[in-house]
C-alpha cells in the first residue's frame, strides 16, 4: 500500500491507527494506514459510510490524535505537537471544506472569508477576502449572512474561506454531500480550478467515485483499512473548468 516517496512529500501517514472505547469494548476504527501525498497532488479517499474516511481526515489534519502511528504534515511530526502546536501548524498552511459548510451564522459571507486571515493576523483581510470571494463569483453576496445563501453559495463561501490563506494542503470532507448534482459539479469544478491555480495539495474524502476519478490518486478504504490505491487514467483532472 505504500506509495512512492519523494522529497516533495507534504503529507505522510505511518501505521496510523485509531481505537475508541465503546460499550462493546475496544473498537478499531482505523487500522495501520500508510500513505503519502506530494506537493500539488490531489488524492481522494473513498469508501462506504463507516469505512473510516473522516477519521483518517481528522488525523491527517491534526484535528484528532492517533492511538498508534505518526502523521507528518509539512515535515512536522504531529505526534510531537500538542493541540496548540497542531493548531499553529494548521494556521495558514491548511484549508478545510466541509460537507455541512460550517460557516459562522452570525458573520456575513465576507466576514466568514476574512476570519482565517484575521486569526492569522493578516494585514489587509478585507481586501484579500473580497478578492477571493470574487474568484468564487460571490462578490454580490459579500454582505449576506449564511441563512440568506443557497447551499451552493454557502459552499462557495467555504471554498473561498479555505483558499483565502493560500494553504499548502486543502482537506475536503464530502464537499458536495449536501448539494444537488448540478451544483455539486459546479462546486467541484471550482475546487479543482483553484487547486490547479494555487498549486495546493488536495485531500478529498468522498463516497462519490465519479468525483474521485478527477484526482491523481484514489485510496479505497474499508473497515478502517486502505484496501487499494488507484491512479485514474484521465487526460487531466485539472482540465475541467466550468465554474
Amino acid at each position: 500500500m505504500e506509495r512512492i516517496e519523494s522529497l516533495k512529500t507534504v503529507l505522510e501517514a505511518r501505521q496510523l491507527s485509531k481505537e475508541v472505547t465503546s460499550p462493546e469494548g475496544l473498537l478499531t476504527i482505523l487500522d495501520s494506514v500508510d500513505l503519502s501525498v506530494s506537493i500539488g497532488e490531489s488524492i481522494a479517499v473513498v469508501g462506504v459510510s463507516g469505512a473510516g474516511k473522516s477519521t483518517l481526515l481528522g488525523l491527517l489534519a491534526g484535528l484528532d490524535v492517533p492511538s498508534k502511528g505518526h502523521v507528518r504534515l509539512n515535515g512536522q511530526d504531529l505526534s510531537e505537537l500538542d493541540e496548540d502546536g497542531r493548531a499553529a501548524l494548521r494556521a495558514g498552511h491548511v484549508g478545510f471544506v466541509f460537507q455541512s459548510f460550517h460557516l459562522i451564522p452570525s458573520l456575513t459571507a465576507l466576514e466568514n472569508v476574512m476570519l482565517p486571515l484575521e486569526l492569522g493576523g493578516h494585514a489587509s483581510p478585507r481586501a484579500t477576502a473580497m478578492e477571493t470571494l470574487d474568484k468564487v463569483g460571490l462578490t454580490p453576496r459579500a454582505g449576506h449572512y449564511p441563512r440568506q445563501l443557497s447551499g451552493g453559495e454557502k459552499q462557495r463561501v467555504a471554498i473561498a474561506r479555505a483558499f483565502v490563506v493560500s494553504p499548502e494542503v486543502l482537506f475536503a470532507d464530502e464537499p458536495t454531500g449536501n448539494l444537488d448534482h448540478r451544483t455539486a459539479k459546479t462546486i467541484m469544478d471550482l475546487l479543482f480550478r483553484l487547486n490547479r491555480e494555487t498549486g495546493t495539495t488536495l485531500v478529498l474524502v468522498t463516497h462519490d467515485l465519479k468525483l474521485a476519478q478527477r484526482c491523481d490518486h484514489i485510496f479505497h478504504m474499508d473497515e478502517g483499512r486502505i484496501t487499494g490505491v488507484e491512479t485514474p487514467e484521465h487526460e487531466s483532472s485539472l482540465g475541467v473548468d466550468g465554474a
Binding site: D84, A87, R90, F98, E111, L119
Partner: protein, 829 residues
C-alpha cells in the same frame, strides 16, 4: 492587540446578530436594579452626613425646654464666638378662614450661624440663599404652610395675637432636620415679635435654643466651660451628637432596599446563566472551526475572557446609566420624605454596578463560556463530540461565591451576610419545592384538556427544571408586590376599623389651668360633650432607686433614651379608659402616698419592677414615687395616654398644663377654629389631617419599595426570555413539524399560549399563597392585628400572573413559531 481587535470584532458581530441580547439585557436589569437603589441611598446618605454639620446651624447648640438660667450668649461673646437664639413652639396659624398647625420659630439676628437659609419671593419661585432673617412684623413661611392655608407671599397671617405679613417663602433651613416628614411646617419670625404673639404662657411647650459658632479651638474651650454650668434640663450638642437615630434608620432602610434589589440581581443572574449556556452551546461549532483554522487554546481563552469583560462592561455601563435615571424616579417618589435638595452622588454606585456586572458574568456565565473553549477541533467532522461536560459543582461554587462576594461588599457585615444567605437560600428552596409540586400537579390536567392545552402542558413537563425556575422567578416578583399592597392596605383598613366612629379626632394641648373651665364651657355650648382634661407635668428623671440616672447602665438603649429626655407625667385617682392593670395594685382614692403606675413596655425598657423608687426633677424640685403597678395601654385609642401616671398627691402642687381630646364631625369643624381664635396659646392637632399625612407618607414609601420590586418582575421577564431562547431551536423545529403535520398556525399559537398561561397561573398561585402566608404572619405576629382574608389579592395573583406571563411568553415566541416550516425543516435536514 490582535486578540483584542479580533475579540472586539467577533463580539460586535455577535451583538449585531442578536446573539447576546438576552445575556446583556439580564445584566442590565441586574445592574439597573442595584445601582438605582445604590445611587439613592448614596445621595441620601451623603445628605445625612452633610447635614449633620449643618443641622445644628451652629458648631454647638444648647437646648432647653425652659429659658436659660445663665447668660450664655455674653459668655460666648467674651470667648470670641458668634451666637444666635431660636425660640420655637407649636401654634395654629390663621389666614382668613384657613388655619394650620405650624412650628413657630422666632430667631435672632445672625441665625443660622452655619449653613444658609434659602427663600423665594413666591410659592414655587426660584429659591436663593440669604443671610438675613425676617424683619419686624414680617414672617417667612414654609411652602407646605402656605399651601395648607391656600395663600402666597404677601398675605397676612395671625400668629398668636400678632398679625404678620408673609414676605418670603422659606425653602430651606439648615437645621430643619432630616428624614421623615416634619408634621408641622415652619413659620420663621423675628424674635423681637415674640412678645406680641403672646404665645409663651406658663407651661407652654416652648423650646429654647442657643447657637454658638467660631474657631474650632474657641468652640472646644467654650464647650468645656458650658458643661460645668449646665442645668439638668439643658442639653448641649455638637456635630458628633447629631442624628444618630436617623443615621441608623437610613442605614437600615438602605440595607432593606439593597436587599430588595438583590432579589432582582439573583433572578437576572439566573437568566444570565441560561443565556450563557445557550450561547456556549451555539458557539461550540465556532470554537471547533477556529481551532481547525489554527487558533490556539490560549487565544480562545483570552478571546473569551476579553469578550466576557467587554460584555460585563457594556452591561454595567448601560445598567449604571439606567440605574441613575431610575434613582431619580425613586427620589421623586420619595420627595416628601426627603427634605431639601440631595447632594451629588459619588462614583461608588457606578463602581458597584460594574463590579456586579463582572461578578454575575464571572459567577454565572464564565464556567460555561470557559468550558466552551475546550471544544475539540474534531467536532468539525463529528458533530456529536463536544467539550467535556461542565461539572455542576464548579458552576455552583462560582455562582454562590460571586453572590456572597457581592453581598459582603454591599453589607460589610459577615454575620448578616450569613443570615441573609441562609434566609434567601431557604426562601428559594421553599419556593422551588412549591414550584416543583405545582408543575407536577399540573400534569394531572393533561388528559382532560384539548390538544392545544395538552401540547402546552406537555412542554411544561418536558422542560421541568426551566418551568420551575420561571414559576419561581415570576412568583417571587409578584409575591412581593402583592404583599406590599396587602400590608399597606390591610394595616390602614384594620387600624381604622378598630377605632370607634366617634373616636376623638381633635387634640388640644398646652391648655393652661385657668383655661380648662372656659374651654369646657365653650365646647358644651356648641353641643360637644365636655371631655375630661388630663393634667400634664413636665419633668426629667434624675434617680432610680437612689442611683443617679447618669450612673445607670441601661440594658435597653430605648430605656436609656427615655430616661434622659424630658418626660410628660400625669396624675389621677382613676385609671384612664383603655388601660388595664397587669401587675400590682392601683392606689386608694385620695391616698397621701407617692405612687406611680407604669406602662408595661416602657417599664420593661427602663428595667423597672414593682417597689422601685423613681425620682424626677419637677420645676427644680425632686419628687419621688414608688412603682406600685404596671398597666397595658391601647395606644391607638386616640385618648390621652401616659407612660407614667402618679397618685395625685405626688404632683398636683406643681404647675401643669392640660390636654384633652374630642370628636367633631365635618359640619362642626369651625368649632376648632373659633376655639383657636379665643385661646391662641392652646394648640389644636387635627388627627384626621395627621392620619391622612401618615397615609400619604406610607403610600409613597410603599410605592418606592414597590418600584424597586418592579425590577424583580423585570428580572423574571428576562428569565422567561432566556428560557424561551434556550429552547428556540427546539420550539422552531417542533412548530414546523406540527404545521407540516397539518396544525394551523393558530393552533400552534394556542399551544404556546397554553404553556405560558399555565406557567403564569402557577406563578400567580405561588405568589398569592406566599403573600397570604407572609401577610398573615406580619399582621398577627408583628402588628398584632386580626388577619383579614383578602379575596381581591387571591384573585389578582393568578390573574396577573396569567396575563403578564401569557402575553410576555407569546411575544417572546411569536417569531419562533412564525418561521416558515419549509425553511426550518430544510435547515434541520
Amino acid at each position: 492587540m490582535n486578540t483584542l481587535r479580533l475579540s472586539l470584532k467577533l463580539l460586535a458581530r455577535d451583538w449585531k446578530s442578536g446573539e447576546l441580547v438576552v445575556l446583556v439585557t439580564a445584566l442590565v436589569v441586574a445592574v439597573t436594579a442595584l445601582t438605582a437603589v445604590a445611587f439613592l441611598t448614596n445621595r441620601v446618605g451623603h445628605a445625612v452626613e452633610l447635614r449633620a454639620a449643618e443641622s445644628l446651624a451652629a458648631d454647638l447648640r444648647l437646648s432647653s425646654p425652659r429659658p436659660f438660667a445663665n447668660d450664655y450668649r455674653d459668655q460666648a461673646h467674651e470667648a470670641g464666638l458668634n451666637s444666635a437664639s431660636i425660640t420655637s413652639m407649636p401654634s395654629v396659624v390663621f389666614s382668613g378662614q384657613g388655619n394650620t398647625l405650624a412650628a413657630v420659630r422666632a430667631v435672632s439676628a445672625g441665625y443660622p450661624l452655619r449653613g444658609r437659609l434659602k427663600t423665594s419671593d413666591r410659592l414655587l419661585g426660584l429659591a436663593t440663599e440669604t443671610g438675613e432673617i425676617p424683619a419686624l412684623g414680617e414672617a417667612w413661611a414654609a411652602t407646605r404652610l402656605l399651601a395648607r392655608l391656600g395663600v402666597d407671599a404677601g398675605s397676612e397671617v395671625d400668629v398668636g395675637r400678632a398679625k404678620l405679613r408673609i414676605t418670603r417663602v422659606l425653602d430651606f433651613r439648615p437645621n430643619q432636620g432630616f428624614g421623615f416628614i416634619d408634621l408641622a411646617p415652619t413659620i420663621l419670625i423675628n424674635e423681637q415679635n415674640l412678645d406680641s404673639t403672646s404665645l409663651i404662657q406658663p407651661g407652654s411647650r416652648v423650646g429654647y435654643r442657643l447657637l454658638f459658632a467660631g474657631e474650632r479651638k474657641d468652640v472646644s474651650q467654650f464647650k468645656t466651660l458650658l458643661e460645668t454650668q449646665l442645668t439638668d434640663s439643658e442639653n448641649l450638642q455638637d456635630i458628633q451628637d447629631t442624628n444618630p437615630q436617623i443615621r441608623s434608620a437610613m442605614d437600615r432602610s438602605g440595607r432593606f432596599l439593597n436587599l430588595a434589589s438583590l432579589v432582582s440581581v439573583l433572578l437576572a443572574a439566573v437568566a444570565v446563566a441560561m443565556a450563557a449556556r445557550r450561547y456556549s452551546h451555539r458557539h461550540r461549532d465556532r470554537i471547533a472551526l477556529f481551532k481547525c483554522l489554527g487558533s490556539s487554546q490560549s487565544f480562545i481563552l483570552q478571546s473569551s475572557l476579553i469578550q466576557l469583560f467587554l460584555l460585563a462592561l457594556a452591561g454595567g455601563v448601560i445598567g449604571v446609566l439606567l440605574g441613575y435615571g431610575s434613582h431619580a424616579v425613586l427620589a421623586w417618589l420619595l420627595r416628601d420624605l426627603i427634605s431639601g435638595p440631595l447632594p451629588a452622588t459619588s462614583w461608588s454606585p457606578a463602581v458597584l454596578g460594574l463590579v456586579t456586572s463582572l461578578s454575575i458574568l464571572s459567577g454565572f456565565a464564565m464556567p460555561d463560556l470557559l468550558q466552551m473553549g475546550k471544544t475539540p477541533p474534531l467536532r468539525i467532522l463529528r458533530h456529536d463530540i463536544g467539550p467535556p461536560p461542565l461539572r455542576y459543582g464548579i458552576s455552583w461554587i462560582a455562582a454562590v461565591a460571586s453572590v456572597l462576594a457581592l453581598l459582603l461588599w454591599m453589607i460589610r457585615d459577615p454575620k448578616l451576610v450569613v443570615f441573609i444567605s441562609i434566609g434567601a437560600a431557604g426562601t428559594f428552596i421553599a419556593l422551588g419545592i412549591a414550584g416543583w409540586f405545582l408543575v407536577k400537579g399540573l400534569q394531572g390536567f393533561r388528559g382532560a384538556a384539548g390538544v392545544a392545552w395538552r401540547y402546552g402542558l406537555a412542554n411544561i413537563a418536558r422542560r421541568g427544571r426551566e418551568s420551575v425556575v420561571q414559576v419561581v422567578a415570576f412568583g417571587l416578583g409578584l409575591m412581593v408586590l402583592l404583599l406590599l399592597t396587602q400590608v399597606r392596605d390591610d394595616l390602614m383598613t384594620t387600624w381604622r376599623a378598630s377605632l370607634p366612629d366617634n373616636a376623638p379626632n381633635q387634640f388640644l394641648i398646652n391648655i393652661q389651668p385657668h383655661e380648662v373651665e372656659g374651654i369646657g364651657n365653650f365646647l358644651r355650648d356648641r353641643g360637644i360633650d365636655a371631655p375630661p382634661f388630663t393634667p400634664m407635668v413636665r419633668a426629667r428623671m434624675t434617680q432610680l432607686n437612689g442611683l443617679d440616672i447618669d450612673q445607670i447602665d441601661f440594658e435597653d438603649p430605648q430605656g436609656e433614651s427615655w430616661a434622659r429626655r424630658e418626660a410628660n407625667l400625669t396624675f389621677s385617682d382613676n385609671m384612664q379608659t383603655g388601660n388595664k392593670l397587669i401587675d400590682g395594685e392601683w392606689w386608694q382614692k385620695g391616698t397621701g402616698t407617692s405612687e406611680v403606675s407604669v406602662e408595661q413596655d416602657f417599664g420593661r425598657e427602663m428595667g423597672l419592677k414593682l417597689g422601685d423608687e423613681v425620682t424626677f426633677d419637677v420645676a427644680g424640685e425632686p419628687v419621688s414615687a414608688r412603682v406600685t403597678s404596671f398597666r397595658s395601654v391601647e395606644w391607638d385609642s386616640f385618648q390621652p395616654n401616659f407612660f407614667m401616671v402618679f397618685s395625685p398627691s405626688t404632683l398636683q402642687e406643681f404647675p401643669a398644663t392640660y390636654i384633652t381630646s374630642f370628636y367633631v364631625d365635618d359640619s362642626s369643624a369651625a368649632v376648632t377654629i373659633d376655639l383657636m381664635r379665643e385661646y391662641p396659646s392652646v394648640t389644636a392637632i387635627d388627627l384626621d389631617a395627621v392620619l391622612s399625612q401618615v397615609r400619604d407618607v406610607m403610600d409613597k414609601a410603599a410605592l418606592a419599595v414597590q418600584s424597586v420590586f418592579l425590577f424583580t418582575l423585570l428580572a423574571g421577564l428576562t428569565v422567561l426570555w432566556a428560557a424561551v431562547q434556550s429552547t428556540h431551536d427546539e420550539r422552531q423545529y417542533e412548530s414546523a413539524m406540527l404545521r407540516t403535520l397539518g396544525a394551523s398556525r393558530k393552533r400552534v399559537l394556542a399551544g404556546v399560549a397554553a404553556e405560558f398561561l399555565a406557567i403564569g397561573l402557577l406563578a400567580g398561585l405561588l405568589a398569592t399563597a406566599g403573600a397570604t402566608l407572609a401577610g398573615y404572619f406580619l399582621a398577627t405576629r408583628l402588628y398584632e392585628l386580626e388577619y383579614q382574608f383578602n379575596l381581591f389579592l387571591t384573585l389578582t395573583g393568578p390573574l396577573a400572573g396569567m396575563l403578564f406571563v401569557g402575553i410576555s411568553g407569546l411575544l417572546a415566541t411569536r417569531k419562533v413559531i412564525s418561521t416558515a416550516p419549509v425553511s426550518v425543516l430544510r435547515a434541520a435536514g
